[in-house]
Amino acid sequence: MKFLDTSLSIIITESLTGSFNTITNIVLIVIPIMVIMQFVRDLNLLDKILGIFQPVCTFLGMRKRAVFPLLIGIVFGLAFGAGIIIQSVKEDKLSKKDIYLISVFLVLCHAVIEDTFIFVAIGVNGWILLGSRIFAAIVITLLVSIFYPKSEEVAAIEDIKTIS
């Protein structure tokens, strides 16, 4: 039995041209996004956006101050969100329930701009992608929030502090 169904040179040519095309498509999208995000970050546009989203936090069962780590995670990614959560915990700003809900939301829905656009680059409808992700994150976070044990709602956050 022949191991390969074609010659090695054909496989290499196919890989080279194919990966080159894929990368050009992605780079054309990634670079403009990165430039835009840099402007959002450096011009502190985020502060202005934060206010609009505070009611969303309340709706999801979090306190208003959870809006910052939540939004950072949604836009820039898990690692950034985690960094800000750790910072906020140190400053006694978040309750255990807040952190729990933020985590649930963020693992399902983070870095939405980048993650969505890399699939848009290969022809997927970004609205379906983004919509399903946000919808699922909201529903699941709401469920967790509703069933979160009342007794733990005001629990101390010392155990989290020691981890960070």
Partner: protein
């Protein structure tokens, strides 16, 4: 005042850095999957896993995309998608599934920093990924 030019430059540098990170992942994966495609191996794995993949409206060979995405990251999955011949519906289902759950190893390490059970979070992601794929197949 804010220096627009400098912000632009920094954004551009970030974009180039990210692009380079992507290239380092996508190219090897693309080579790997293209090579695999021309061996009997992918065919064999496809047949083995296709009954399950059918439930999600996917062909057996697209399982390699899920494996790449779950284990490595979205860019690796992208490399795999590009190197296979898949329909737009299949790609959309894969994209939805993978946007719910990807880069398990790295992101689990990150979510550890949240200070809550990572196994629960990982389980939540995996299950929602499968359910999302199932629903997407029904709706699309």
């Amino acid at each position: 005042m804010v220096n627009v030019q400098q912000i632009f430059k920094r954004g551009l540098m970030n974009g180039l850095k990210t692009s380079w990170e992507l290239i380092k992942i996508i190219v090897p994966v693309y080579f790997f999957v293209t090579f695999l495609k021309h061996t009997p191996a992918l065919n064999y794995i496809s047949k083995l896993i296709s009954p399950f993949m059918e439930l999600l409206g996917l062909s057996g060979e697209s399982s390699i995309v899920l494996v790449m995405g779950y284990a490595l990251n979205l860019y690796a999955a992208l490399g795999a998608i590009a190197s296979l011949t898949l329909s737009l519906k299949e790609i959309t289902i894969l994209a939805i599934m993978l946007s719910f759950a990807h880069s398990f190893f790295i992101e689990t390490a990150v979510s550890k920093k949240f200070g809550i059970s990572t196994s629960a979070l990982t389980f939540l992601r995996f299950v929602s990924s499968i359910i999302a794929g199932f629903i997407a197949n029904l709706l699309l």
